[in-house]
């Protein structure tokens, strides 16, 4: 069992050790990529839109759950439920 384990480990090391990247490390490209100026506004916009969608979803869930308790809630609830 231990021999089998060692053989497997050896084969694994041989296979992974034979992998080499086609391109070497490029530090200039790395720095450019790390400082990508478009990254921050896009991440911010993505975060804001995700938060808005989550809020809308939570509001819709509240209306579905407590529909009859709010004015015109029953109508809104049936509209939301039919859309699911």
């Amino acid at each position: 069992m231990a021999d089998e384990h060692d053989e497997l480990r050896q084969a694994l090391s041989g296979a992974i050790g034979a992998w080499h990247p086609a391109h070497g490390p490029d530090f200039r490209h790395l720095v450019h990529r790390a400082h990508a100026p478009w990254r921050q506004p896009i991440a911010k916009a993505s975060g804001v839109s995700t938060a808005i969608l989550a809020l809308l979803f939570a509001l819709a869930m509240l209306v579905v759950m407590f529909g009859p308790a709010v004015p015109d809630g029953a109508e809104l609830r049936s509209h939301l439920v039919s859309g699911l």
Partner: protein, 184 residues
């Protein structure tokens, strides 16, 4: 859990990042490739991991070896990449793309080990490559993966059992023979 600390000979990510990048590039690439199972995607994810490490270099604390810190970033980046890839395949415009890793197996004759690795989940592949290729201890592997060391033990045992079954299955024998002759 034993506390491993950075040795005094280690490179400092703040002042010596270019050297660190040169030295660790291949090691990180191999870890990433074992997780994503695609050579060109692995290069992109490796570069992305180093870009993240470069942005975070001032936050590095020498409580762990710098290589383990880099591997932690690389494993997380590779796993996020696979999650994004899975989500992208759910989009209708991308339905023409391969559905999962099985295409990897069909694409060309792979090394027996690579085929066996493809049978494992990305989390199992990460545990295997860190412990059995990079020789990280169970505790170091646990710290890199952010899981208890008992979970590392069960993951690696499960992975090795699955790989052993795969590599001894009749259809794998020609691949095993070619793999052994190639790697000695």
């Amino acid at each position: 859990m034993a506390e491993s600390t950075a040795s005094p000979n280690e490179l400092d990510p703040v002042s010596q990042f270019p050297l660190l990048y040169q030295r660790e590039y291949s090691a990180v690439y191999r870890t990433v490739r074992a997780i994503v199972l695609d050579a060109s995607e692995a290069e992109d994810v490796t570069q992305d991991s180093f870009a993240k490490a470069y942005r975070a270099r001032a936050r590095y604390r020498p409580t762990a070896p710098v290589g383990a810190w880099l591997h932690r970033i690389a494993v997380n980046t590779a796993l996020s990449h696979l999650r994004r890839r899975r989500l992208a395949r759910l989009l209708p415009a991308r339905l023409f793309q391969p559905a999962d890793d099985r295409d990897y197996l069909r694409s060309e004759a792979r090394d027996a080990c690579e085929v066996a690795l493809a049978e494992l989940s990305p989390q199992l592949r990460a545990a295997v490559v860190l412990q059995y290729f990079h020789d990280y201890s169970r505790e170091e592997t646990a710290r890199i993966l952010g899981i208890p060391s008992g979970t590392v033990a069960s993951r690696t045992a499960k992975a090795m059992a699955l790989m052993r079954v795969k590599m001894t299955s009749p259809e794998q024998i020609p691949l095993v023979v070619s793999s052994l002759s190639r790697h000695g």
